[in-house]
């Protein structure tokens, strides 16, 4: 599959009012290779999964998840958060080898 960083899609409003509850949806293109499958020659295909996903808003964790081999390919996370101040929202997907895919969006409070 694609090298790190992996292609991602993030869906969230660019602006919101203080105190609003906003929905954030994320996708990452990742094979989530389980490590249980074998190739045509019978060799185990090494496990390659997103192991940890973390979202920070103004440097504070607002969502985090540990993911394992049972999670399907191209993991989709959707959650909501309460709007405080304007600032960056940072999305970090970390795989087993510690390689990171990082995306940042700015939320502007109106």
């Amino acid at each position: 599959m694609a090298d790190t960083p992996h292609p991602t899609r993030i869906s969230m409003p660019a602006t919101a009012k203080r105190g609003d509850i906003i929905d954030i949806k994320t996708l990452i293109q990742h094979e989530m290779e389980t490590g249980y499958r074998r190739d045509a020659n019978g060799r185990v295909i090494p496990r390659d999964i997103v192991a940890h996903f973390e979202v920070r808003y103004l440097d504070e964790i607002i969502f985090a998840a540990d993911t394992f081999a049972g999670v399907s390919a191209n993991p989709y996370f959707a959650f909501s958060t309460i709007v405080g101040d304007s600032g960056p929202v940072t999305f970090t997907w970390t795989d087993l080898a510690g390689r990171k895919t990082v995306e940042t969006r700015t939320l502007t409070v109106t």
Binding site: A2, R9, E31, A73
Partner: protein, 260 residues
């Protein structure tokens, strides 16, 4: 040879007349493939933020302006902004290529562009870049009805596709029409049998854990009736694709779809 070609085109012309006066039947009320999916899957297709196929669309958008191809020409270099130039293009495929006379689907046209115009190696069928570009181009026709030509030079191909659809095949000795016309709405293992409408493809299929082309879906159908799985992009499947496109021409294109 010229005489033969002429005679053949005359015969095709006659066929097309016959085809126009006595067209094969279509479902009375056309329903897109996603209405046979669960409500959750339908919701995932309807929401671009949740539809995993949009990851491939995003890659296709990048490839559109990538100059990595053979002589450094990008798709955008000739076609400009795809949002304007590719609008409605996918509705007209498969179509007869004026130069070679062959029936080309969108994948075939993309690869023709790559070899003839960009002087690059064609993408392998079902490769991520080809799926991504196909999905990106098809998305520009979202909501538009099909507009394929089935007369003239395409008449023979249309007839080949129709014939494929109604001919029994495989160890189970089933024709496409027996499921997708005669048994629509009934259960086949865990699935509800759809009308076999093709407007949602390429689509993300959970069973595959990835994006797949219409031909991958057709190969799954061939396997299901224990018939020979034809190669990706084979003339038989492209002809069938033309028939399916005509058959779903009342429906707006809703690719990229999400399927179980």
């Amino acid at each position: 040879m010229v005489g033969l070609v002429f005679a053949a085109s005359q015969a095709v012309g006659l066929c097309s007349l016959a085809a126009q006066t006595n067209l094969p039947s279509r479902p009375a009320i056309a329903k897109p493939g996603n209405v046979y999916q669960s409500p959750a899957t339908q919701a995932q297709q309807a929401d671009d933020g949740a539809n995993p196929a949009m990851l491939w669309v995003g890659q296709g958008e990048k490839l559109w302006s990538s100059t990595d191809a053979g002589d450094g020409k990008s798709c955008a270099g000739c076609h400009g902004d795809a949002v304007a130039s590719m609008k409605g293009v996918a509705t007209r495929y498969p179509q007869i290529d004026a130069k070679s006379g062959a029936l080309l689907n969108l994948e075939g046209r993309i690869n023709q562009c790559r070899t003839d115009r960009q002087h690059a190696t064609p993408y392998a069928y079902e490769s991520a870049p080809l799926l991504s570009l196909t999905a990106y181009i098809t998305l520009q026709s979202r909501g538009m009805p099909r507009d394929v030509k089935i007369d003239g030079a395409a008449a023979a191909q249309f007839e080949a596709g129709r014939s494929f659809f109604v001919t029994r095949q495989g160890q189970l000795n089933l024709a496409c029409t027996q499921c997708h016309d005669q048994s629509v709405g009934q259960k086949l293992r865990g699935d509800t049998i759809s009308q076999g409408q093709s407007g949602g493809w390429p689509a993300y299929r959970f069973e595959w854990q990835t994006m797949g082309s219409l031909h991958r879906r057709l190969r799954a159908c061939s396997l299901g009736v224990r018939a020979e799985q034809l190669p990706f992009g084979s003339p038989e499947y492209v002809a069938l694709e033309l028939y399916l496109a005509w058959r779903s021409q009342d429906l707006p294109l809703d690719a990229p779809g999400v399927r179980r």
